[in-house]
Amino acid sequence: MKRKLIKIALTFSLLVCLVLSLMVPSSALPINNVTDNYFYNLEYQAVDAPLAFTTEKVISLSNLLGSSTSTTNTFRPSDVFFRNGLLYILDQNGNRIYILDEQYQVVSVVERLSGDIPPLAIVQTSSGEEGEEGGSSGSSGGRSNTSFASPEGIYVTEDERIFVADTENQRIVVCDRNGLVSKVYQSIRVSVLGENYVFKPTKIVVDNTGDLQIIASGINRGIMQVDSDGNFRAFFGTPSVIVSLWERIWRAIATEQQQASLNKFVPTEYSNLTVDSRGFIYPTTSALGETAVMQLSLWSKTSNYAPVKKLTADGTDVLRRKGLAAPMGDLLWADYDVYPLIVDVAVDSDSGRYTLLDQRTGRFFTYDNDGNLLYMGGGSGTQAGKFSNACGLAINGDYYYVADSNNKTVTVFKATDYVHAINQATEATANGLWEESIPLWNEVLNYNSNMFIAYIGLGKAEMRIGMTILDDDLALEHYARAVDYLSHAGEKENYSMAYAALRTDQLEENFTLIVVTAIVLIVGIMALVTWRKIVNQKKKKAAELAAAAIPKITKSFNKKRGDE
């Protein structure tokens, strides 16, 4: 009894020890003290990176008024757009458009609209919100159809027609750089929204077919598609609502009162959109901000909860999310609880690179066609090159323009040679110029040896070169190098391909050796088996002999006993 007790006590103490060993506090992930220029390593930690952008110029009101005779003293940029060598800055407070050339000299200011303009058709909402907002942009009664009222979005077509989302006037104005209006879209009928919905367009683009793609505030059905005549077509790219199983069960159990207090499942609104030269539409969502949601979009790499999408004409998301993390802006939220708030996206040329603007951290992040993060710029603050409320982004090759409505500036960034190196290398890889891409990627590694994408590029290039080489020995060398590079990049898809090629070549080379070894092994095993069989048979025979002898012995033994 005592022994048993001791045993139980021993077992229990062992258990406690094991649990204790688990409870040893694991050291928390270190928060690296990095500078403003950083990049992520494969463990999502920020590591220092070379400077990607230099601040070229900060455009403020004084710059804009330098050559103009206007006397306004309010300036609050809400959006920027770049087209054909001209930078368009939309001023939300001054209700005007500044048009600048590439030397940042004001070419034209659009303030008064002229031409054939229909009177305003403003729908008043029943709530007091409308009056308040109207009050901030001047008196609501004083609105005129010849000026803008708190416009938030601007888009310029190839033939330099300017589309302005004139938010508080509830219309979209099309004008040229002298303010001559060619078309006004207002009172657009949308049957599903009823008669008295308030049309407040905030962002607008015009796609290849001339259709208007509009994001309006308070509409969560997606992007409004309106044809060039002003007829509503459809909602487009409606964000899907995902309800978890647990939420569904909880809803089934909950009483009506409880259900009323639960969050309603409404799709998130889009915050901004842009269109690339091939007609793909990139909408952004900024309604994220819970760790769980962030984790989900970080790991799942699906369209659900994605901060940015790439929509085809039928509304399917084709954005490639092959990078370390899904394109979502800053990843440091895990450390700092500062969630990215993506407010704008800009697409750069035909390479498929796009840049997200994160309002929370004032940073912009450039991704390649596959969704790999390439470099970033900006920062939080009020100095030159930092932002407190970044709201608009435009790209012209090497130049990035960021509007900040709080600092009341538009900042011009210029890409450094580091960015050039990365761009050249990614483009070479994307175009399949494998031989050319190797020195380019090595150049990138010279700048930043933490750039694991360079190792992916090098590995891919080595693998592809190996595949074109007929000489096995040489190909083997390339494959071996590819495997080595890719293993540094935490990348598995290409690694697997390179390794398969390497394995095939190695097998072919050592074919005779392998076959001989296999034959020797098989023969050896067969020999062993037969030998054991023979031995066993011998043993059996001996046992049988012995067994046969036993009865005789016992018989004689019994005889003896019987005799006695």
Binding site: V16, L18, S496
Partner: protein
């Protein structure tokens, strides 16, 4: 000196005997029904040290697997942050917990097995998992993602076999019917959860107590120094 030699000799012969008996684990692998029955009832087969060796062997293969699996089949950055104690616990604790919880319930449900019987059966049942772990390690260095199916199939085969053998050994040790075996399994899993909960609870209480005593001590030291 002589006594030390004697002890060593005894230990050596004991180890040799255990090793000899461990060969029986392979017999169990092929003939589980007879094997587990004899393991319990044949005094020539019983070996508690052998069972412990098998469990440690399983833990070893588990850890080696975690550390040396090929690049394609693991997260290389997880390998860098491997916590040895944690891995050891993950490998061993479930089987110990199972044995204890099963012993608790089987004594209520008139099972025939003692704690040592249950533990022995459970440990001998881990062998398929150990073997599959050892097969997986070299394989993972030679396969590509296209052939991942082979890798996972071997892993799941080992796991399914091991769990089936744990269940079988429990049934045979207690001389249960299948129905009763299933019932006891469910109860045992519940019991494992309860035991784990209580252990964690005790640990946290102890921690609280410790921190209280420690802070009391520092307070007193501060007051004395004033």
């Amino acid at each position: 000196m002589a006594s030390v030699g004697n002890v060593l000799k005894r230990f050596g012969s004991g180890a040799l005997e255990t090793l000899k008996r461990l060969r029986y684990a392979f017999y169990i692998l092929i003939h589980p029904f007879d094997g587990f029955f004899d393991l319990k009832n044949d005094p020539k087969r019983r070996t508690l040290p052998g069972a412990i060796v098998l469990l440690i062997f399983y833990a070893l293969t588990h850890i080696i697997r975690r550390q040396t699996l090929g690049y394609l089949f693991t997260d290389p950055y997880e390998q860098l942050h491997l916590n040895l104690m944690y891995e050891l616990m993950v490998a061993i604790l479930p089987f110990i917990l199972w044995s204890v919880a099963n012993w608790c319930f089987s004594s209520l449900m008139d099972g025939d097995g003692k704690l040592s019987d249950i533990f022995m059966g459970t440990c001998f049942a881990t062998l398929p998992m150990s073997i599959c772990n050892l097969i997986q390690i070299p394989l993972s260095h030679f396969l590509t993602t296209a052939e991942q199916g082979v890798f996972t199939a071997i892993g799941s085969l080992g796991m399914v076999l091991a769990y089936a053998y744990v269940f079988l050994s429990m049934m045979i040790v207690h001389q249960y019917s299948v129905k009763k075996g299933v019932g006891t399994t469910i109860l045992t899993i519940l019991g494992m959860a309860v035991i784990a909960f209580i252990v964690v609870l005790i640990f946290f209480l102890l921690q609280q107590m410790m921190s209280f005593v420690l802070s009391l001590g520092t307070e007193i030291i501060f007051r004395l120094n004033e």
